[in-house]
Amino acid sequence: MNLVYVSSFIVSIIAASTPLLLAASGELITEKSGVLNLGVEGMMLIGAIAGFATAHATGSAALGIVAAALAGVAISMVFAVLTLSLLANQIAAGLALTIFGHGLAALLGAGYVGISAPVLHAIAIPVLSAIPFIGPILFDQNILIYFSFLLICAISWFLNKTHAGLILRAVGDSHDAAHAMGYPVIRIRYAATAFGGALAGIAGAYLSLFYSPLWSQDLSAGRGWIALALVVFSAWRPFYLLAGAYLFGGVTYLALYLQGVGVSIPSPLISALPYAGTIAVLVLISRDARRVRLNQPACLAKYFHAVA
């Protein structure tokens, strides 16, 4: 098998994995603060259409990404007000957010079906990108792919090494204790939810401006749900999250490849392969119940109401 072929195989896996990694990184921070936002799929779709429409109107894909992040923050704030300030149930509100996001994105996107918008181009790093094999993999990618790698390292550093990260984990672990010590639980959770919303929005824009650079109503195709599953099955550990996202990307590509070479398996089964495969592997990885219990934010999805 020649090297160019292998290299393009790896590039495709990276491309398929990045949106999951982006959305799941955001949700990881949200959940570490004790908030379970099941609306990732809805926020991704809103981000996708906001990014696509903005890029189409302004001609700038970069502005599209900014708009997608802002749209993600805006819709996550609806969720935050409902659950953190008005104490609505997080599970129900999150599901509603997904359904709402789906519908709103379809409505806003009705006029954009079949139109093209500016595409996010790869940034080839001079000289380095010319290196055979690793050049195209490491140094000729679009900015969001570089960003996703930096992000996961930054998140790991933030959670484990900084005092602010310690406070975030503390709020997710015991909001009553954090409150008693004088930390602003609700404000921290708002910020963590907004961060998750921004990244879900960016993940959506990645899909509509790069991965399949067209708007369609089913653009996210359940990736938001896979991102949520990744967070849980990685037991809230950033680098396991990275591995899980790439596993999913790898199996997605494998499924496409199998279809391409005409393996006689019904195509719906092949399409289901990445979902089933990723979950199966992650369940095996996270069998250690003790480790999961240790890393799981103990206050995940619980109400917090301060008496002051």
Partner: protein, 519 residues
Amino acid sequence: MDTELDPSARPPLLVLRGIVKQFPGCLANDHVDLQIGEGEIHALLGENGAGKSTLVKIIYGVMKPDAGSFTWRGETRTVASPAQARALGIGMVFQHFSLFEALTVSENIALGLNDPKDRENLPARIVDISTRYGLPLDPTRAVHDLSVGERQRIEIVRCLLQNPKLLIMDEPTSVLTPQEVHKLFATLRRLASEGCSILYISHKLEEIRALCEAATIMRLGKVVAHCIPAEKTARELAELMISAKLKEQSFSHKTISTAAPRLVLDRLTVRSNQQFGTDLKDISFAVAPGEILGIAGIAGNGQSELMDALSGEIPAGTPRNIMLDGAPIGHEGPRARRRRGCCFLPEERNGHGAVGPMTLAENGFLSAHVRGALDRLGLINRKRTQEFAAQVIKTFDVRTTGPRAEARSLSGGNLQKFLVGREVLQQPGVLMISQPTWGVDAGAAAAIYEALAQLAAAGTAIVLISQDLDEILLLCDRIAVIAAGKLSPPIPVREATIETIGLLMGGDHTAEEKHAVPA
């Protein structure tokens, strides 16, 4: 106390005047005055619900008072947040520890330090302070692996790192073994001698008499007395606290019955279903008709798992692990066990023992419909259900508007009386009850003890799980101690000493062996 100082001779550190705090439907603090001198160990005494916790939360800046003045070293101040209180030099050790289970000792302490400067070389400073004050701690260990005593040390060390002028301790000994209490007192006396004042909150009178120089006694949100505890007897303090003459209670400890045991646990081993729970290992005991077996131990050593295993909420490994009147029931759920004549009352009243938003009648039905025949052809028999609840209310003097009142509308003590009554009136063959008097006032506790003693006299086998050693010594015929999920062999209460029980609570199995030899 060797130095009998007049508290008024000390320069005041903190003076509170006229503190008022109103909650919906309850005046938690009604013009409360409090004065603490420098280097003084001051007791704040009162029953559950007297307003002690509210007052200290106000001092520590967690809550804002509606009215009143706060004077710190002669200056009037407002303390708007715990961070401000810490900046003044106030440290607090909470009753329900403000610790984060998933984090390490050192991370937990770092969370309490606002100033980044304080967080430098933290592990080394933790080791330094903890050895200086005799509070051994390993900064790298995760909190969920630590005993309750060790957890309390984390909080104390966290306060000490900030050189506090006032250390507030909220019910610090309720979770400690007698030996640990002894060590804690030595640490507190040393701190006071170095000039740190201590506000010591408790309802344990002997402790206060041994430790504190001055006391402020609260009842129903008001200060009822300021006194020197060493000059009063425990009984006088108790009567100030509850405003009524206490009836002396004593129950004769019967000789152990030789009748065939009703309930037998045989090497019961169960994995906890809680996030940071304790697994039960090889629990064995037998309870005869008419006997009360007390299970003592510090919270979190497997009591809730044992209760869940006894009630059938966690099934046992094999049916023969739990035998009732000779029948294996380990695999059966709570309903099947109730049908066989068992009744249960778990520790947590709201949410586990009772459904808060349901009426008392409905809550009575939930537990008693089998033995009380409150259903007919699978439907609720309204009339009998109402009558049953009314009977519990009357027999146990539950203060409520009637069977139609919602369970959550009752105060903790009243709800507990209703729940105990609900189980007792079913005339169970075996009763398993956990923390029957937690948060219950002295009068209600006496009524509950009376009811349990009568039930045992009528031939019921009772398993009583409690953290209150005095309660077990008062009521039970035999006592066993649960520590880290293991149960010591039961010994007659008459032969048990506080020292032995204390060692067993700390999981010291040599104490067990010492007992095994003479027996």
